[in-house]
Point group: C2
Amino acid sequence: MTVCRRARRREIVLFQRLASCFDNTGFCGIGVDAIAEAAETNKMTLYRHFGSKDDLICEALRFTSEKAAAFWDLLEASHPNDPMAQLQSWVKARAQCLADDKYGCDLANAAVELKEQGHPAHVVIENFKLAQRRRLEKLCRDAGVSEPELLSDTLSMLMEGAQVSKLATGSEGPSMRFMRACEAAIASFRQPARNTADTVGSEA
Amino acid sequence: MTVCRRARRREIVLFQRLASCFDNTGFCGIGVDAIAEAAETNKMTLYRHFGSKDDLICEALRFTSEKAAAFWDLLEASHPNDPMAQLQSWVKARAQCLADDKYGCDLANAAVELKEQGHPAHVVIENFKLAQRRRLEKLCRDAGVSEPELLSDTLSMLMEGAQVSKLATGSEGPSMRFMRACEAAIASFRQPARNTADTVGSEA
């Protein structure tokens, strides 16, 4: 293993430990000493890598967001030139994450926890979530559904909501129907566009 | 004003200040001294009312959940014997809360923030969210939609997801389509029940 690859490997291990540490304690209720202990390093080393605790949080979130971004390439490779199959795979993959991840999405959790106005992590979170939104919207458009922006935002909200809901009420709460809710939404947008105001707004 | 009513009024003011304090700082990153200062009282008084900080958090969440529970009575009174109109009002009211509340739902935020296994607030949060779920499911069933449990959980996830999404990406992110997403979901469940597996894929 080259020096460069060893350094990268050490960096990955450090970020994995940091992610696990924030999952367990949250971003606010922990000091740099405890972070260093959880990451099996020391405060000096952390400060050599990161200028401050805020900087450390931003880099840990960037690491998580890069991992998540790679998922889209895998999705495309799994069903080349079949965007509807990719969309169905997106649902399955999100359902699997929901089942596996005890603590939900690190970036969404950080958005809830970091209340401070102008905290630098907010830019990292927003950039990541908006990039995910653009990818999902493109996928919905490529899949030929009737209202791609609306379906994409519906699926995003279902995903974020399922994660929070699982934290609040466990896996037998509303999140137990995440996959069926996504499938029903996709099915309804595969039908010809209809004016929801006509159907919902007045009594049938 | 009687002594009893004055005491109740003081209690309401205290809980409103506590809610505002937790909105601004979160539940974890604040000590009892700072809570007392934000609530314009002192530590001694807080400890006379509440045995511990955990107890204080539970009572503050119970106060919020009682306010939210009262919403259902208003909803019923606004459209007596018209569950579909009540369901449409639920969507409008949730959209209004989404626009008004800068910090989202206190109870959902507490579910994200309080990581500690067995924290007594988890029971308060779960009881509240499950009670809301039962009310919404009953409303969907009374409104005669095709799959009341699925529509109810879909709407719950959209609501939780919209709140987190607004914190992550602001009001121009996916949450901007919360109302249309709910309306489209309701419209699709007003149509005769269909097998989503036939339309979407075979994994249902």
